[in-house]
Subunit: 186 residues, 2 copies
DNA sequence: ATAGACATGTAAGGGGTTACATGATTTA
DNA sequence: TAAATCATGTAACCCCTTACATGTCTAT
């Protein structure tokens, strides 16, 4: 099984969800460590059911067509936990900004300052987004709306999201200082 | 053109390199923001030459077969800088560790502590690696062995690599405290 | 009425990783 | 003599993103 599929199993372990819900979860809460579109999600759910890892209930929706709400079986939970207990590989990152940064010594300083300011703004927004999710999560925990296991898992990923974005914002600021000094010094 | 190809153009702008050298550069110095194997590198170099973005000299090697050492043309430099001056997209990360972390509330605390300790060690090693590269880069700058433009570009990526790994190590430590407290509190 | 969110899927094409293919030189 | 490094490429396969296909409900 692929990483995305384990991510889906974990999300279902936190609470039952439809394919549509999973897709939103990937976009809003998991995009900093794993992403997926509909064309990964729906076939994976069908696979889970064939393998006995999940089952679905058909539930009427407020608006739009019927929802297929999937929940994890004991077997699914077993498969998930077995995988989760083994050591993880190193993270893989593809960062266009850093590829561009390789050329920042060859561009006008004002151009570079503009690019870094824009990047800083992007990551400040992402930081604010994760902080907001963390606030909501703490609310849910206080009101007992969320199982403890789901709280712990989600909290850990949000801690990482926040740390990663803080670190990126700091780099944008440090890089701005660096290119400004480098230009003044030369 | 793809991101990897711009990364290659930037590396060639810093100094002429062979496909083999580029592959090493991806592994050792660029893996935290972009990766590539031989099967991406060699076809891309052939493409650069067809498009007039780079030219190669054939140079005898100390050991092993002849080397094709590529350098960027003015056209290649132009194409690179035009791209580098435009805003970058958001970074994409695939982090197996965080997918596993989603299930950390369902695993025994001792298992989780072990996994986090292992992850911390991995990222401490990466941190040490980037710090070592930064030390060497500063040496090269002091002795004037490296063009200023290459120094700036490389320094910026190393600053980010170091910041990212520091931030990851901190998460491993914070996560360890968190799961320990969560287990004691429950 | 039109745009946007809700909701489930399939198909095609592009990009990237892994394995294959070959061969010289050095170090243990 | 076996393993590691140097060195250049190709081929096949898998994964993933993008586009396609369809339809309802709500808000502007």
């Amino acid at each position: 099984m692929k990483m995305k599929e384990y991510a889906m199993l974990a999300a279902l372990a936190h609470s039952p969800r439809s394919g549509y819900d999973l897709n939103k979860w990937f976009d809003r809460a998991a995009s900093h460590f794993c992403s997926a579109g509909y064309s990964s999600v729906y076939p994976a759910l069908a696979l889970f059911e064939r393998e006995g890892l999940a089952v679905h209930d058909t539930v009427a929706s407020d608006r739009g067509p019927e929802r297929k709400v999937y929940s994890l079986t004991d077997k699914g939970r077993g498969v998930l936990l077995e995988w989760a207990g083994e050591p993880a590989g190193a993270p893989e990152t593809r960062d266009e900004q850093l590829v561009k940064a390789l050329s920042f010594g060859m561009l006008p300083v004002e151009t570079v300052r503009g690019l870094l300011e824009e990047a800083r703004e992007l990551h400040r927004q992402k930081l604010a987004h994760y902080e907001e999710l963390e606030r909501k999560l703490e609310e849910q925990r206080e009101s007992g709306e969320i199982p403890h296991q789901a709280y712990v898992g989600t909290k850990l990923t949000l801690m990482r999201g926040i740390g990663a974005e803080e670190s990126y914002v700091r780099w944008c600021e440090d890089a701005t200082s660096f290119v400004t000094d480098a230009a003044a010094g030369t």
